[in-house]
């Protein structure tokens, strides 16, 4: 039987979350014109605190938003970044969508499974690394791509990937190829909840493939022109003469 709770009354907070988390959950909900919009970031916060989506986290979100726990559960199980099993300090995602797979992602994933002795979506015994094959992560020009805590590890080989996980497990500092030094998965989830860390300025603006077209344009002096009359700019046009 269920206790007929009074959703409007938030006074009986009992889930095992600390007061700071409760406050931050409310803070997230308050960012939006309608509180329920905060649910996705709130679940990210739950993961940063709990290490996964826990029943306590689901109930807390339901209570803060005044919706049913079944509804929160429906959302938490829809999005793949929300994890029901505890995630290690480092979430290692190997892209095995077609392009990365063909370019070597499949092999990298196989080698990592062997090396770490885990299957897909499993965590090493030391609790350090959770391995997962992931879908296209919008870095195809850097294929094969691996993500560690959703930071880019571009242009991987089986060897480089193994080096990364070994370093992570050994506690050696690892840097993203286009981002900062790597923190923990929980720290990353906190950023996704909308509580920024101080790493925005780390890493480059762009990796080499992002700049390849720009460099060619620079070498050739190609531009889009700036004349509002369109005179110079049409130099770049491929339109027919009748234009």
């Amino acid at each position: 039987m269920s206790v007929d709770t009074n959703p409007g009354d938030n006074s009986l907070e009992r889930a095992g979350l600390d007061q700071k988390t409760w406050d931050e959950l409310r803070e997230i909900a308050a960012r939006y014109p309608e509180a329920r919009s905060g649910l996705l970031p709130m679940l990210h916060l739950v993961q940063s605190v709990e290490g996964r989506i826990t029943p306590e986290g689901i109930e807390a979100c339901a209570e803060v938003l005044g919706i049913s726990a079944a509804e929160v559960n429906g959302v938490a199980t829809f999005y793949t970044m929300y994890k029901r099993k505890p995630v290690g300090d480092y979430h290692v995602g190997v892209c095995t969508n077609t392009l990365c797979a063909v370019m070597g992602g499949d092999l990298i994933f196989e080698r990592l499974k062997d090396h770490l002795d885990v299957g897909n979506d499993e965590t090493t015994e030391d609790g350090k690394v959770t391995l997962e094959h992931i879908e296209c992560n919008a870095a195809c020009d850097y294929a094969p791509v691996m993500m560690v805590n959703w930071e880019f590890m571009d242009n991987q080989t089986p060897e480089s990937a193994i080096q990364v996980v070994d370093d992570l497990r050994a506690g050696t500092e690892v840097h993203s190829t286009r981002g900062p030094r790597l923190g923990t998965w929980r720290e990353a989830e906190r950023v996704l909840a909308g509580f920024p860390d101080d790493r925005a300025d780390e890493g480059p603006a762009a990796g080499a493939p992002s700049l390849v077209g720009l460099r060619i344009a620079r070498e050739n002096g190609w531009t889009a022109g700036t004349d509002t009359t369109g005179q110079d700019a049409t130099a770049a046009s491929t339109k027919g003469d009748d234009q």
Partner: protein, 436 residues
């Protein structure tokens, strides 16, 4: 001579600390904002209409027209939502843009929101690109501190709040109504249309949803004029766009060029295909656009020409595969992706991708029969145009186009009793590839 490449959005990516406000302003950033504020909002909409800018997220709907659909007599608040859920396989243009120059997007958001009279805007960015999210968060924070966001921006009397919202892993949220569901804290399943978001979108209020690149293009249009923009590109596909080359090409990466450039030209710029190899098949705009072959190398990459060639321009995500690649394997993997990402709402997509995957997997292993190809095509026919949204349609594209172009390769799997390809040969670190 012709300027093959036209860096606009990518132009400042090589600047020192390009992501910072200081760098962006040093390169003329936020100047378009004052120009826009000097214009009436409707004039901004007209400028974007006149530029001919079409949605850069794949569908190519005219951006200015979309803005014009917002009923300004509706008393509800208006919202701008930027679709930064870049997830279409092969697509990788918005991510480097936001990473290198988030302020370009922020400035575009401010001008666009001003045009449609929104006082709250959102950037819905996929959660799996955390450093991009950091840069966006920082850029928004800087913009607030500099008075580009918040109350009475630049003394214009216009107020705008901008919220960076991290998604949580769902390709379907790239579909604009599913994105709204996600932004409202719900399961990302597409909504019934009508009502269209322009009338009843976020919180049932008038809402414009635009792709990152579309919004990021707006400051340049305001800065340089609609005619400047319209002067680039082809007759009905105006302006420039970022072309993302990936796969077996010598220099994969981002190439910003007028619409209408051909793949042959782009491959030339990119130093040709991987040495010793030749192009076998490619996607013009992500995995949901039907595969093309070398015979399409000279198709102008604009909306009309690619459509006429039997595919779609999509997101200009040019995934290039050479002859070492097994097309059946490629298509199976994409189909598994669609199965994984199907939201589950409608029957054809949910059940169809479940079945397609099984049929394809058997074929890839050399099991089944030639009749299975017709079965696949019939399944595709029962999905395409029968699904609730375009995800189901997209799932059929690789299958039907690959059977059209590479039927024999499917049959070869049957006769060979499995995949006749050496998958190692297609990897970047393959000795075959390196030695060749």
């Amino acid at each position: 001579m012709t300027d093959m490449l036209t860096p606009v959005l990518t132009d400042n990516w090589d600047a020192e600390r390009a992501w910072t406000l200081a760098s962006y302003e040093e390169h003329g950033g936020y100047a378009a904002l004052d120009k826009a504020f000097a214009m009436a909002p409707d004039d901004v909409i007209n400028a974007v209409k006149e530029s001919g800018l079409r949605g850069r997220g794949g569908a190519g709907f005219p951006t200015g027209m979309k803005w014009g659909f917002i009923p300004q007599d509706n008393p509800k608040p208006k919202y701008l939502v930027v679709n930064a859920d870049e997830s279409e396989p092969g697509t990788c243009k918005d991510t480097p843009l936001m990473l290198a120059s988030p302020h370009t997007l922020v400035e575009g958001v401010i001008i666009s929101s001003y045009a449609i009279r929104a006082n709250t805007a959102f950037i819905y960015v996929r959660g799996e690109i955390i450093h991009v999210i950091r840069r966006l968060q920082r850029a928004v924070q800087e913009a607030y501190l500099a008075g580009h966001l918040g109350k009475n921006i630049h003394g214009s009397g216009y107020d705008l709040d901008l919220i960076v919202h991290a998604g949580a892993g769902a390709y379907i949220c790239g579909e604009e109504t599913a994105l709204l569901e996600g932004l409202e804290g719900r399961r990302g399943q597409p909504r019934l249309r009508p009502p269209f978001p322009a009338v009843a979108g976020l919180y049932a209020s008038p809402t414009v949803i635009n792709n990152v690149e579309s919004i990021a293009s707006v400051p340049s249009i305001i800065n340089h004029g609609a005619a400047w923009f319209a002067g680039m590109g082809t007759e009905k596909s105006n302006g420039y766009g970022i072309f993302s080359l990936s796969g077996h090409v010598t220099k994969p990466g981002q190439y910003e060029a007028p619409l209408g450039i051909t793949l042959r030209e782009l491959i030339d710029l990119a130093g040709g295909m991987r040495e010793g190899h030749e192009l076998k098949f490619w996607t013009p705009g992500g995995s949901s656009t039907p595969l093309l072959t070398p015979e399409h190398l000279d198709v102008p990459l604009d909306f009309e020409s690619v459509g006429a060639a039997g595919s779609m321009l999509g997101t200009r995500a040019l995934q290039l595969f050479d002859e070492t690649t097994c097309v059946v394997r490629a298509v199976l993997r994409w189909t598994e992706f669609y199965k994984h990402e199907s939201c589950g709402k409608c029957t054809p997509c949910r059940e169809g991708t479940w079945w397609l995957t099984q049929t394809l997997a058997r074929l890839e292993k050399g099991q089944g029969s030639e009749a299975d190809l017709d079965l696949l095509l019939d399944q595709c026919d029962n999905i395409l145009g029968r699904s609730f949204c375009a995800l189901g349609d997209g799932a059929t594209s690789p299958i039907s186009s690959s059977i059209q172009h590479f039927r024999d390769e499917y049959l070869a799997h049957l006769s060979h009793g499995g995949c006749p390809f050496d998958h190692a040969a297609s990897t970047v670190f393959s000795p075959v590839g390196a030695d060749a």
